[in-house]
Amino acid sequence: MRDALRAELYKTVHRRMTYILLAALIGLVALFYVILWLRIRQGPDHRGAQAFVRYLALKEGMSFRNVVPYGLQLERFFVTLVCVIFTATMMGNEYDWRTAGVVISRGVPRPQFIAAKLIVSVGFALIAVVVAFAVAMALSAWFSNLYQLPYGSFGLSRFADAGAGLARTSYVVLPFVLMALVFATIWRSAGQAVGFSLGFFFLEGIFTGLLDSARGLLSRIPEGLFNANVQAVMSGNGTLSGDSQDRGPFSPSPGGIPEWRGAAFLLAWIAAFALFAFWRFQRRDIQE
C-alpha cells in the first residue's frame, strides 16, 4: 500500500493540474472577496431599513471576526468544485491514458491502486480547504483593517472553533469527492466523470428546490440528498455576529435537520460511494 501511495503522490506533485486547481481556488475566493469589497465601497443604498441591514451584514461578513462562518461557507462551494475536478481527472485519466492497465499488469493489487487515489484525493481536499481558508483569513484581515471592523478574540476557543470549522468543511466536501471517484470508475473517462459529477453538484439545488415545494414523501427526498445535510453540518460553524442581526447571505439554513443527522447521512453517502467505487474497480475489466 505504501508503494502505491508513494507513486500516487509522485504523480500528484508532478502534475501541473494540481497547482492550476489550487491557483484557481485561490483566485475564486479572492475574487469573491474583491467583489464584496467593491460592493461595500458603494455604500448602503437608501431604499429602507431592510436594505441597510443587508449592507451591514455584508460588511460584517467581511470582517476577520466572521471568517469562520462566512469564509468557510463561501469556500465550501469552490473547494467542492475544485476537488471534484481533481478526483475525476486523477482517476479518469488513468483510463484515458491507459496507464491503469500498465500499473495493474505489473502486479499492483487493484484495491491498493484505488485506495491510494482515495487517500490522495482526501488529502488534496484538506489542503484545498486550508489554502482557501488562508486566503479568506488574509483578505478579511485586510478588510477589517481597512474598515476598522472587529477582529474577534484570539483565545484558544477561537482556534478550536476554526479547527472544527475546517474539519466540518472538509467533511462536507468528501461525498462529492467520492462521487467523482465513482463516476470515473463507471465511465472510465476523465471528461465524463467531471461532467457527471459537476452536473449532479449543480443540478441538485434545482431539483431539491422543486421538491421542497412538493407535499408528502416527495418533499422529504431532499433531506436524504447532499445539500440539506451539508447545510446541517455547516450550521455548526455558527452564524454571523454583529450589529445587523442578519445571519448574512451565506448563513446556513439547515431546515431543521440536526447537525449529527446531517453528518450521519453524509457518512452513509461517503461509505456507499467508497464501497461502490472499490467493488466496481475490482470487478471490472481495466481495458476492453
Binding site: K11, G101, I104, I286
Partner: protein, 304 residues
C-alpha cells in the same frame, strides 16, 4: 520435462454480442519465444489482456508459473513485463520519470536499473523529454524499457515494432533473442509474419477468437513436406501426381509443380514420372514461409 510458464485453458470472453475469445488453450514453455499471430479482431489482444489480469475471462483459467492468476494475480504478475497494444505512460512526465513512477509502484530496479533499461533501448538522450513529445518509435522504446525494467521472467510484447524505422525494427528484432537468451520467456504479438518467423520458437495462429494452429514454428511451416518439381509436360505430370496416394495437394506456380505432403517422397515422384515417360529436370524439397501458412489457414472461403 517441459516447464510451462504460461498456460491458458478454455478461455472465453464476450463483449455484448461479440465473442472475442472462444475456447483458447495455449501453453508457453520457459525460455521460448512464442508468437501470437492473427488478423485484427482475431482475439490475440483480448487473450493477452486476460493473461495480464486486465480482462476477466467469462470462463477458463490462466496460470502463470503454475499458479492461477485469479488467486495469485499480483504475486505472479510482478514477474511479468508487458507492452499491451500501445505504450501507455503519463504524458506530463519525462521518459525517465515514467520509469521512476513504475519503480515506485513495484520497487526493485532502482536508479541504476532505470538507467540500464533506458540504455538498452537507446533512449538515454531523450529520457528527460516529456512522454507526450515522444515520437511513436520513442514511445515503443520506452514501452520496452518499462517491460524489462524489473528483470521479468516473462515479457509480453504486443506489436513492439509499430512505428519504428527500419533501424529500430532491426534493433528490436535483435533484442528479442537476446532477452530470450537471458532465460526469459517472450510472447510476441505481431502482424509482421517475417519478424515472427525469424525470432519465434513456437507460434499460435488466431482467427475469430480461436487458435486454429499452434506448435513449433518449424513444424508449422512444414519445412520438408513440400516438393517442387520441374518437368516439360506440366499438365500430364500434374495429373499423374494427383493420382498418387501420398500427395495431399498438387499446384502449379511459375512453371513448377508443388506437391504438398511429399517431402520424403522425392525418389517415388521421380520413379512415378519416369514410368510414365516424363523426366524431371528438378525435384527439391521447398520450405513454405510462415506467411504462406498463415494465409492458407486464415483465408476465408470464397476469397481464394
Amino acid at each position: 520435462m517441459a516447464e510451462y510458464v504460461i498456460e491458458a485453458r478454455g478461455l472465453f470472453k464476450s463483449y455484448g454480442e461479440t465473442r472475442a475469445v472462444q475456447g483458447v488453450d495455449l501453453s508457453v514453455e520457459r525460455g521460448h519465444v512464442f508468437g501470437a499471430l492473427g488478423p485484427n479482431g482475431s482475439g490475440k489482444s483480448t487473450t493477452v489482456r486476460m493473461l495480464l489480469g486486465l480482462a476477466r475471462p467469462d470462463a477458463g483459467e490462466v496460470r502463470l508459473f503454475g499458479r492461477t492468476l485469479a488467486e495469485h494475480g499480483p504475486e505472479v504478475l510482478r514477474r511479468v513485463g508487458a507492452v499491451v497494444e500501445v505504450p501507455a505512460f503519463v504524458p506530463y512526465l519525462s521518459g525517465r520519470d515514467n520509469l521512476r513512477l513504475l519503480e515506485l509502484y513495484t520497487p526493485g530496479a532502482g536508479k541504476a536499473g532505470i538507467e540500464a533499461a533506458l540504455a538498452r533501448v537507446h533512449l538515454l538522450e531523450a529520457a528527460h523529454r516529456r512522454f507526450k513529445n515522444y515520437s511513436l518509435g520513442m514511445k515503443q522504446r520506452l514501452g520496452i524499457a518499462a517491460a524489462i525494467l524489473n528483470d521479468p521472467e516473462i515479457i509480453i510484447l504486443d506489436e513492439p515494432t509499430n512505428g519504428l524505422d527500419p533501424q529500430g525494427t532491426r534493433e528490436v528484432r535483435e533484442l528479442i533473442p537476446q532477452l530470450a537468451g537471458e532465460g526469459r520467456t517472450i510472447v510476441l504479438c505481431s502482424h509482421l509474419l517475417h519478424e515472427v518467423e525469424q525470432v519465434c520458437d513456437s507460434v499460435a495462429i488466431f482467427q475469430r477468437g480461436k487458435i486454429i494452429a499452434q506448435g513449433a514454428t518449424r513444424e508449422l511451416i512444414g519445412e520438408s513436406t513440400r516438393l517442387e518439381v520441374q518437368v516439360a509436360d506440366l499438365e500430364s505430370a500434374e495429373s499423374i501426381l494427383r493420382s498418387s496416394t501420398w500427395a495431399a495437394a498438387v499446384s502449379r506456380q511459375n512453371g513448377s509443380l508443388f506437391v504438398d505432403g511429399a517431402g520424403g517422397q522425392a525418389a517415388e515422384v521421380n520413379r512415378l514420372l519416369a514410368v510414365n515417360g516424363l523426366y524431371a529436370s528438378l525435384i527439391r524439397p521447398t520450405r513454405q514461409s510462415l506467411e504462406e501458412v498463415f494465409f492458407e489457414l486464415t483465408e476465408e472461403p470464397g476469397h481464394a
